[in-house]
Amino acid sequence: MNDMTPTREQREAKLEGMGCKRKRVEDIRFTQGKGNYVDDVKLPGMLHGDFVRSPHAHARVKKIDDTEALKVPGVLAVITAETLKTVNLAWMPTLAGDVQMVLADGKVLFQNQEVAFVVATDRYAADDGINKVVVEYEPLPPLIDPFKAMAPDAPVLREDLAGKTTGAHGPRKHHNHIFEWTVGDKDLTDAAFRKAEVTIKEMISYHRTHPSPLETCQCVCSFDKIKGELTIWGTFQAPHVIRTVVSLIAKLPEQKIHVISPDIGGGFGNKVGAYPGYICAAVASIVTGKPVKWVEDRIENLTATSFARDYHMTTEIASTKEGKVTGLRVHVLADHGAFDACADPSKWPAGFFNIVTGSYDFPTAHLSVDGIYTNKAPGGVAYRCSFRVTEAAYCIERAMDILAQKLGMDPAELRLKNFIKPEQFPYHSALGWEYDSGDYATAMRKAMETVKYAELRKEQAALREAFKRGETREIMGVGVSFFTEIVGAGPSKNCDILGIAMFDSCEIRLHPTGAGIARMGTKSQGQGHETTWAQIIATEIGIPADNIMVEEGNTDTAPYGLGTYGSRSTPVAGAAIAMAARKIKAKAQMIAAYKLEVHEDDLEWDIDGFRVKGLPEKTMSMKDICWAAYNSVPPGMEPGLEAVSYYDPPNMTYPFGAYICVMNIDVDTGVYKVRRFYALDDCGTRINPMIIEGQVHGGLTEAFAIAMGQEIRYDADGNVVTGSFMDFFMPTAVETPHWETDFTVTPSPHHPIGAKGVGESPNVGGVPAFSNAVNDAFSFLGSTHIQMPHDYWRNWKAAKDLGAVA
């Protein structure tokens, strides 16, 4: 060996494989403004479409007069429901088994609902046209309060469903009822409550909010009349699903539809579903034969294309006097708005809300969810969340604090007492899930030690005394949250979207020089797939990550996959990548054996190639194997080195974490200060620690926003009062607290590389940590539960209601 021979460490480092803090390759273009987003797509002769929207929450549409609009220079067409009926597209199916108006058909059901689509030669002309369309409305009484939706005399919202006593998920109890979903053993749970020494009951609301990605929803549709082909560039988190849906509803052959998701500026669930803008732009392009662009503005995004949460969760826990939980009962009133357009796997009308038993060993539980219609925007998307897991985590984490308060126990102690123990995994929860792995107590204790939890409690006690003596107007809260997520939808046995199993895929093709391209069915919206996917391949097959180009988002070239949301990319596509890489490695081993003139079994893998067992100088690098794959494969073997894997996961993965938030609140103004936020995440094997940290920072910032002020709020008439970034709380760097991150590693036993997914954990676990901090701060004044969001005026009102402010 001479000095030039790289050491094992140098060879490892060169790969930049799993565990490496590899810098994000996509940032080279993003930070220089060279990304290519939908709005960057500019085609010759391209037209622009924009919507006339309803000012009313509930009204009959008597007449739409487009005469003056069509006189505006540049305006070419005004599309209404009547136009769409001629192509049978006035309504579209939703992912949740409902139907949704594309354009108002006879009535409008929420403010800013799409009423007409104006097509013009430029965006300015389109908007001038919008202002000239005269719509005659007859206002109807709006239904805004979800708790009044099922009153006998509640207004009838969905006249199209008249007489339909059964919906996509079973019987409907009322004209505004969508479904009832129940899970668990009711009798056993009722019995547990009858026998309970201690019970708590609280209506815990998770208010309506919105994912609000930086880039709004948009598309460019271009129909080629000669070829009969439709190309759609769109902000799609799941481009393949969009292609299939378009094919089914527009009755176009699937091979003639090309869906391309270019760079996406954030999705957070907002870009999973199909929206009227896509349909209208496609129809407009088919009708005019020209490309048509549709780009939402911020107000439209916040008020019309989907919302998240809006779950009202009446929660009860039964427990012993010592704080051992014995039963959980939850009823959810789920406000779905005007149409059920939730983006859940088809058989799951309330998503995976039955993860609501959380990290605790509940012997029995029962859950029922009633979905209802109101005069609000449709949606119910998973905002950085695996299908209602955020709601579930908030519900149980808030309820555990309420129980601790009733028992006079420390909330962290109560959690430690009830955790599922490491030896109980795989753990079967009372509501039907099989948790793959976890070591909760270790994580909780590490968090408590790091923040010096006991000292914080002492400080809090002293401050409370000072407050009572009138020496300070500040109160202090310590918020504990221990969440368990369920991500990686999902196994074909229980997850599909419109009948398509929720597998994901990867195709790897290596080139002769030891480089290659890899394509997946997922689609990054900022998660950094181009970086991390290459790292998995680098470790698996010993080709440097820099030599692997990752490509996603083009349905013509990428293998079919269900897309990126619900923290599913690493659990599902990440597994497909490892499996495809292993197929390549198996073939590579045969080639190496042939070239080294030994039996395959005599070879062993060594970082970036194979070596002969016992003869470490006899090696063949993966780079050389790539070359050999194209000129000297063993007799009978096909040349080339590529593989495809479609991965159907055997189970979900269950990341978890322990978060602690320390906050002070000035009762006179309600102004809070987050003094400390510590987040420990266990996402199993860590592919790129830097990206994980970035994901955690982003998710915590969203959690902070949601808990502390971000909401889509309606007034009694159904007007959105928080429809722009002036009032919809989008924190800047100035408001955002400092984040401390930490980790433990408990790999998933069933995942090929043991990874669990992390993107959504901070949003899921962060919200209860903030809310528990606020509630903990106020608890000594006598409150059990204060609803989110905890913005300044509501904190002040809480203080006032509790007698702490005159």
């Binding site: 006179d668 009032d727 800047t732």
Partner: protein, 287 residues
């Protein structure tokens, strides 16, 4: 979020600008930094047919001291206020307030003239100008006049400006040496208008308040001078009871609207808190 059609004019002198404005009539609006006007146009809440851009008028720029008065040209940006040594020396409360307006991007474009002429109760500078006893120079086709800031604001977006008139400069008497000052603003985040804000300029003598002015932002349709509140603190050492009395007197004249910042009751309550905190901080700075 797409404005309607308009035509654009860029005069080089005040005389040309006022002539244009009076010829074009109601459908013309002066354009300064555009950071209040353009958002309104994008929402089509404002649909002027003509914009008369004031950026070409050299005479509207500049900050100068004229004896005991600071004169600021209407087109001085909020950033220029912050960069000015003269303002830093003589009117530090202006810096404190400007720093609480939006973010650097907005402050690079937004002008003092636009902020004062806009008539939005959420703008921070108007109440401050009332507190400082400033006056505005208004110029129209029939000549120039001076109007006190305290006489200028008549309702939301409704001011003493006659059609065709421009606000060309603001004159601010330099506060006494050793004065104390504070601008207390409660807002939800960077870039937000005040939930409530209070400006205080005072002088102290022998540990007691000698003179005091208090202004209030976004607590009514117009900026307010809280005269009774100011009176209540004269001759006191700002003991807790006096502070409470001042807050109550200020609250008595507030009539904010309920909005996403909070209900009326909250906005008035924190208005009172801002007054108390501004008084205390100002007193701490006085010598």
């Amino acid at each position: 979020m797409i404005p309607g059609p308009f035509s654009y004019h860029r005069p080089a002198t005040v005389a040309d600008a006022v002539k244009l404005l009076s010829n074009l009539g109601d459908e013309a609006r002066p354009l300064a930094g555009g950071h209040s006007l353009v958002p309104m146009m994008k929402l089509r809440l404002a649909t002027p047919e003509h914009l008369v851009d004031l950026h070409g008028i050299a005479g509207l720029k500049g900050i100068r001291r004229d004896g005991n008065t600071i004169v600021i040209g209407a087109m001085a940006t909020q950033h220029e206020l912050l960069a000015s040594d003269e303002i830093g020396r003589s009117l530090p409360i202006l810096d404190e307030t400007a720093l609480l307006i939006a973010d650097p991007q907005v402050r690079y474009r937004g002008t003092i003239g636009g902020n004062l002429a806009n008539g939005d109760p959420g703008n921070d500078m108007p109440a401050l100008m009332m507190t400082l006893g400033a006056s505005y120079r208004l110029e129209g086709t029939s000549g120039a006049r001076e109007v006190a800031a305290s006489e200028f604001y008549q309702g939301a977006y409704f001011t003493a400006l006659e059609p065709g008139e421009l606000l060309t400069s603001v004159a601010i008497p330099v506060p006494a040496a050793g004065h104390g000052y504070a601008y207390e603003k409660l807002k939800r985040k960077v870039g937000d208008y005040a939930t409530a804000a209070a400006a205080v300029v005072l002088t102290m003598a022998g540990g007691k308040v000698a003179t005091c002015k208090i202004g209030l932002t976004n607590l009514s349709e117009t900026p307010l001078l809280a005269e009774d509140a100011a009176k209540a603190v004269i001759g006191t050492s700002l003991d807790p009871a006096t502070l409470k009395k001042a807050a109550a007197a200020a609250e008595a004249i507030m009539s904010p609207a309920a909005d996403a910042r909070g209900p009326v009751e909250y906005r008035k309550h924190v208005g009172g808190i801002m007054v108390m905190r501004a008084l205390q901080r100002a007193a701490g700075r006085a010598s």
